[in-house]
Amino acid sequence: MAITENDVLEEIRDQLESIKVPGAREATPDNTWAELDVDSLDLVELVKALEDKFGVTISDDDLKPIESVGAAIDLTMRLADSTEGSPA
């Protein structure tokens, strides 16, 4: 079954909560990492959580332009789609 934006948003909120980001449950796609005080070390943990949950591989190059929750959702969905579409 295809993943939804909400699935990814909820996973991001879970991860932000586990790394003790204040207001994690209220994070929206519009929030930037800077607003959430999420730094590069936090992103390493976030990426691992998304990879484990959705079976995608997020490279450093993929991650470079990602500066918000919404951009991370879009990236994850795009990678998940291409993973599903490619031969095993």
Binding site: I19, K20, V21, P22, D37, L41, V44, E45, K48
Partner: protein, 402 residues
């Protein structure tokens, strides 16, 4: 703010203590800690002295706490107490505010956890926080960030002498004119399964789980954890800004045994030299010292040889000696800094904390160890604190009443 003129090397500066912080198994905060020592309270439970009540979020955000090893959490809390007491960073030049907080072993729990994660799960299982949590300068770095301290910052490490070396080197840093104010001390959270196993295998831990320094039946130390932090400040600047002064650090002496990695030199040569150097640095005679806070680990070797070294220095005229480790166990890299707080409180209040569990005298430990309870010492103006580390590295500090 306007930069201040620095002191110049060679110019005499007195070093005031304007802030004190302690986290220990018996209390948090300098006054509560000293009260607990006077109450003969022991933090030792089942052969260890953990800080069971400690809550890192009292001094840091939940996110920062998650990103810190326990040794850093303990240091942050002690530093928060000390810097609040000193009113930092208000009124001081942050360009000349330094942080020198050491640890004997660093983020050991993090190291153990991540080794296990790596063995079980490979590279991807290793936390990106591993290095910044484990590294022994993390506590000093976090404290500097909290304060916005832009002066020198690093960690010193000399095993069980770390806390005293940090305070002594902080004194030197101010004397050399490199900083006006130094947040200095030691921190340790080494009560991990691996570390406990290692000290047990060395035969260093008390099998009975009792810390009884200088007693004939002592059989090793009891592991504790905690942190001690002081704010050292150029006396003239402290007075100028109206800071409360809790005492002065007037002497620092350091030495190597150059003998054995874990056993002290039988003759007490290294310990003797550290004490003599501290007295010389302070410009005082042994007869002026009214109290010694001993290293007093409760190991058969240390206590015998420390006693011998005190005899070497004081030549029959030793003042009363007591061991804080009888109450809170051995805090390794934090010990000297926590014990410095005990000494400062003893000087301020004119009362000596006791050595607990001293029941049967050892003929080779023949000093006055303040065994019966706290003792009034109204004329006390000068006191010393000894710390001797594995590696044969020794530090002694001398403090004066404010």
């Amino acid at each position: 703010m306007t930069p201040r003129a620095s002191s110049h090397p060679g110019e005499h500066v007195d070093i005031a203590i304007t802030g004190r912080g302690v986290v220990s198994s018996i209390a948090e905060g300098p006054d509560a800690f000293f009260d607990a020592l006077l109450d003969r309270r022991s933090g030792i439970v089942d052969g260890g002295a953990p800080c069971s009540e400690f809550d890192p979020t009292s001094a840091m955000t939940a996110k920062a706490a998650r990103r810190s090893d326990r040794y850093t959490q303990l240091a942050l809390c002690a530093a928060a107490q000390a810097t609040a007491e000193a009113g930092l960073p208000d009124g001081v030049d942050v360009e000349r505010l330094a942080v020198l907080v050491g640890t004997g072993v660093g983020g050991l729990k993090t190291l153990e956890d991540e080794c296990r994660a790596f063995i079980d799960g490979g590279v991807r299982a290793v936390s990106p926080l591993f290095v910044p949590m484990m590294m022994p300068n993390a506590a000093a770095g976090m404290i500097a960030m909290d304060l916005g301290a832009h002066g020198p910052g690093f960690s010193v490490s000399s095993a069980c002498a770390t806390g005293s070396h940090a305070i002594g080197e902080a004194k030197r840093m101010i004397e050399r004119g490199e900083a006006d104010v130094v947040v200095a001390g030691g921190t340790e959270a080494a009560m991990t399964p691996l570390c406990m196993a290692a000290f047990e295998r060395m035969g260093a831990l008390s099998r009975k789980g009792v810390s009884r320094p200088f007693d004939a039946n002592r059989d090793g130390f009891v592991m504790g954890e905690g942190a001690g932090v002081l704010v050292l400040e150029r006396g003239d600047l402290a007075r100028e800004r109206g800071a409360t002064i809790y005492g002065y650090v007037v002497g620092y002496g350091a030495s190597n045994d150059a003998f054995h990695m874990t056993q002290p030199d039988e003759t007490g040569r290294g310990a003797t030299k550290a004490m003599t150097a501290a007295l010389s640095d302070a410009g005082v005679e042994p007869s002026e010292v009214g109290y010694i806070n001993a290293h007093g680990t409760s190991t058969p070797f240390n206590d015998k040889i420390e006693t011998r070294a005190i005899h070497n220095v004081f030549n029959g005229g030793s003042p009363p000696v007591s061991s804080t480790k009888s109450a809170i166990g051995h805090l390794l890299g934090a010990a000297g800094a926590v014990e410095a707080v005990a000494v400062l409180c003893a000087l301020a209040r004119g009362i000596l904390p006791p050595t607990l569990n001293f029941e049967e005298p050892d003929p080779e430990c023949d000093l006055d160890y303040v065994p019966d309870g706290p003792r009034e010492a109204p004329g006390l103006t000068l006191a010393m604190s000894n710390s001797f580390g594995f590696g044969g590295q020794n530090a002694c500090l001398a403090f004066k009443k404010a």
